[in-house]
Amino acid sequence: MATAAATYTKPATDGKIVVGVADMAVTNDPTAFLVTYALGSCIGVTVYDPVAKIGGLLHFMLPSSKIRKGQDDSNPLMFADTGVPLLFKSVGNLGAVRNRLIVCAAGGAEVLTNDGHFKIGSRNRTILRKLFWKNNILLSADETGGSISRTLTMNMSDGSITVRSKGKESVLWPQ
């Protein structure tokens, strides 16, 4: 069902479109579920246009692409500063309207102690908020931080978002 307008459209397998680490998928298939497993310090960002039923999910790893600037194998989806704009652009290419988008996020966990100056999860959360603030984007719901691994799923029929961690599932959106 997904069109070729965006680069990151993927067909669903058994109803699921699985998004890996440093990966993204957008779709207009209302029967699909977009899912990303095992968010550690990484963050999963979902966007959904409830009118057009177009959505996307990005699983980024780190805040800034500067770290791999000039590298041949640099992947824009690995980083918040390059991945998030691509996510919005890709759902836009499919026909989503920006001011209708419902935006959610999950992940950004930390190791237990002594993470010190790394704070990868926390810096991922900070850059995401800065990016949204700069671009006047409202975060509808988020579940970030702690030391837990999360699985994030978006139901494309209604945009509902669930987060699964420690074997338990909770609804992130609608709240």
């Binding site: 699985v18 095992a38 780190l62 100056h117 702690g146 074997g167």
Partner: protein, 290 residues
């Protein structure tokens, strides 16, 4: 409360290290061994030979329009790369059918084993340590989880994880539930396999390396610990245990050091993992990362 040995004795079918892997480890641990032995092991094991061929003819090592035979591949790759390929090929599949009690999909532990090994090798090269030894230690670091996986259902493990203090290390939770943690169990298993002492200690201390000056401090343990944390940050093979493990201060301030360096190791590990999986044609598709 059961001891590590009692726990292991209760398991009917303890994981076994494949014979060719043991022979390669002995070569790695004994620099005086005839390196032609590596070639003999590869030639007599079909699975390893096939992997060596795939590597030698991959985008990284191959040459367009040219297919290398096994004999040519062995000559091109060199002994150290061959040892690494053989270990990877023999040890990673041991993790392919485990991890469900930790809430992981099948294949996730296999990917975690390889990801850690790749990160450890890279760090060891930078530190001019022993990359092959660090690679092996990281490949095997979570072998104790294979044993614990046999004792609990996912529901039991999830319940233990849910009701525990989330600021406590998951090792403590394993100790409360099983009587021992996966690092101790893995070390004891490696000891029963007669692996070199440094590998046993790397497995035992991959979440708790001793600082310099303390007994049992070994840079190999530090490297394997750093590689494990890189995998945790990336979310590879994190299940009910999540990121509930500490980062040792001396590794944080030493090996990992700066943000740039830590993030570089993460991104490099990821790039090399996806490349290695393509070369191995492994069944660890990204849908299996949970």
């Amino acid at each position: 409360m059961a001891t590590v040995n009692e726990l292991l004795d209760r398991v009917q079918d303890l994981p076994a290290l494949p014979g060719p892997a043991l022979r390669i480890i002995n070569i790695l641990n004994n620099p005086d061994t005839d390196l032609n032995e590596v070639e003999r092991i590869i030639k007599t094991d079909e699975a390893i030979a096939m992997t060596v061929l795939r590597y030698a003819n991959s985008a990284r090592y191959g040459r367009p329009g040219r297919t290398f035979s096994l004999r040519e591949s062995i000559a091109r790759l060199g002994t150290k790369t061959l040892m690494k390929i053989a270990l990877q090929c023999q040890i990673c599949p041991m993790f392919s059918q485990t991890g469900t009690s930790y809430g992981l999909q099948l294949g996730a532990m296999q990917r975690g084993s390889l990801a850690g090994a790749i990160a450890a090798e890279e760090i060891a090269r930078d530190l001019e340590l022993e990359p092959e030894l660090c690679f092996l230690g990281a490949l095997l670091r979570d072998v104790g989880k294979i044993v614990l996986d046999m004792f609990a259902t996912p529901e039991e493990m999830a319940e233990a994880a849910s009701y525990s203090d989330t600021s406590a290390s998951f090792l403590q939770i394993e100790e409360q539930v099983f009587g021992a943690n996966h690092a101790e169990i893995g070390a004891e298993l490696a000891s029963r396999w007669n692996l070199p002492e440094r590998i046993i200690e790397a497995i035992r201390r991959h979440h708790s390396p001793q600082p310099p000056g303390e007994e049992f401090n070994d840079p190999v343990c530090d490297v394997v610990h750093a590689a494990d944390v890189i995998c945790l940050w990336t979310g590879i093979a994190t299940g009910f245990d999540g990121l509930q493990y500490p980062l040792a201060a001396h590794v944080r301030d030493g090996i990992l050091g700066t943000r740039d360096r830590a993030e570089y190791y993460m991104t490099n590990m990821w790039a090399r993992l996806t490349e290695a999986e393509a070369e191995m044609n492994a069944d660890t598709a990204k849908g299996m990362t949970a």
